[in-house]
């Protein structure tokens, strides 16, 4: 049993294909979608989204995506994720993400209340996580 997963950003479709499970983090916490999930609509956190694919009982193949906010909609047609900033794990520029993380950490050391820097740090961590690099 599989269902259609579509991940779209304003510029293009980032991912489109059949999957057996999608794990996301919404404002209410982590949630996994399996085939036949009830219609659902929720807002995504800045987090790593995981799409599990399976080829006829073979090994599972996971696609990690860094989503910086967005929405997930589950309907009879499948799971649709829309995010205005999203990046496939394989597309993440690890060097840049690491630089961004260091810059954000440095900013936080001087001003621990800097909201922008906190967000930037979170984004960089999520991107590194999705890329499979150790944060």
């Amino acid at each position: 049993m599989a269902f259609l997963v579509e991940l779209v950003s304003p510029e293009r479709i980032l991912f489109e294909g059949d999957a057996v499970m999608v794990v996301a983090r919404t404002t209410g916490g982590d949630i996994a979608f399996l085939p036949g999930h009830v219609p659902y609509l929720g807002a995504l956190e800045i987090s790593k989204l995981r799409i599990m694919q399976e080829v006829d009982g073979g090994p599972r193949f996971e696609t990690a995506v860094a989503v910086h906010g967005g929405f997930v909609e589950v309907s009879g047609e499948g799971v649709k994720i829309l995010s205005d900033i999203a990046e496939l794990g394989t597309d993440v520029d690890v060097v840049r993400a690491r630089t961004a993380m260091e810059a954000a950490e440095a900013a936080l050391r001087t001003d621990p209340e800097n909201v922008e820097a906190k967000k930037a740090l979170q984004r960089a961590e999520v991107r590194l996580d999705a890329a499979g690099a150790n944060a």
Binding site: P10, E11, F71
Partner: protein, 331 residues
């Protein structure tokens, strides 16, 4: 004299020829960019369709219409126009028709007693309105031919914020819609407040309502109201992004057309000038031949004159001589 005419024409032809090279290059560049811009317009469709569907589902699923973004104002005191033009010219009537539509829209507002506000995209709109001393709230430039979502976000955040703060009571988009490579049209689309009819179709076209029927059974994470409040600004950004992409593709199409016309005209002009130049050259040659012939003739006839003279002189001399001779022996 006649050769000077020819030289001037030759210089003009070579200048037209190099202009033609430039316009041809611009035509080709615009042509290749249309394809890319068209792909960008298409690439943005899934997102705008999906976000439209989600907004419709939320609205149908009890996301109440309390959001200020959805509420029409009783009295429109200040009406904002987002005018999208190009950064560069040389694209025919593309910029001027958008600007003209914007001016018409401002006049309409003034008739109902509303103030106008201008948010301009593209250097051309900025130049036009600044020169005519219009009040410009914001101008965004430098991305008209390749807009990114970040640009749309900046504009979207600005107008949403001002609309919610009641600085604006109405926001309208004025841009060129890309229908096909051969057809684009200037459109005026209401953006804020969002109306029920507007919540459909990526760039304000009415969509089909039937797809929103089975919506009551959705399970919402956090309330539909909260979700709607989150998603509406993004919806507005997506609308603006679609408009920017449409305008960008239209710009390239308009530029390609204008440059093709310019290239054709240059070709025509070169042909015409070459004809005139050839005639001038022939005229010059003919004149020269005439001069030579005339000169030769004049020369030979003057030789004949000279002979007659000397002959006359010889006769006179002989007569004098004979007279002297005759006088001698007579005496």
């Amino acid at each position: 004299m006649a050769g000077g005419q020819e030289r001037i024409l030759k210089r003009r032809i070579s200048s037209v020829r190099s202009t033609k090279k430039i316009t041809r290059a611009m035509e080709l560049i615009a042509g290749s960019r249309i394809v890319k811009a068209q792909a960008a317009v298409k690439g943005a469709l899934p997102y705008s369709e999906l976000i439209t569907k989600v907004v419709a589902d939320l609205a149908a699923g009890g996301g109440s219409i309390n959001s200020p973004i959805l509420k029409p104002r009783e009295r429109v005191k200040r009406s904002a126009h987002i005018v999208i033009t190009a950064d560069r010219g040389l694209c025919g009537a593309y910029n001027s028709s958008v600007v003209r539509a914007a001016e018409g829209s401002i006049l309409e507002d003034e008739e109902i007693g509303a103030e106008y506000a201008l948010i301009l995209v593209g250097r051309k709109a900025e130049g036009y309105f600044r020169y005519r001393d219009f009040r410009i709230d914001n101008a965004f430039t430098g991305f008209s031919d390749q807009p990114s979502y970040e640009d749309a976000r900046a504009i979207g955040q600005l107008v949403s914020e001002r609309f919610i703060n009641e600085e604006y009571d109405k926001v309208e988009l004025i841009y060129t819609r890309f229908i096909s490579a051969g057809k684009q049209e200037v459109v005026r689309r209401p953006l804020l407040p969002l109306e029920r009819e507007v919540i459909s179709g990526g760039d304000g076209k009415p969509g089909d309502e039937s797809s929103n029927s089975a919506t009551a059974s959705y399970e919402f994470e956090s309330s539909p109201e909260a979700l709607l409040a989150d998603i509406l600004p993004k919806y507005i950004e997506a609308r603006i992004f679609a408009a920017l992409l449409n305008a960008g593709a239209s710009e390239h199409a308009a530029r390609q057309r204008a440059m093709k016309a310019a290239t054709d005209n240059a070709e025509e002009l070169i042909k015409e000038l070459s004809r005139v130049m050839n005639r001038a050259r022939q005229d010059a040659i003919t004149t020269e031949i005439m001069e030579i012939v005339g000169g030769a003739e004049a020369l030979s006839s003057s030789d004949a004159d000279a002979d007659e003279d000397s002959a006359a002189r010889a006769i006179a001399f002989e007569r004098d001589y004979l007279e002297h001779q005759g006088a001698g022996p007579d005496n």
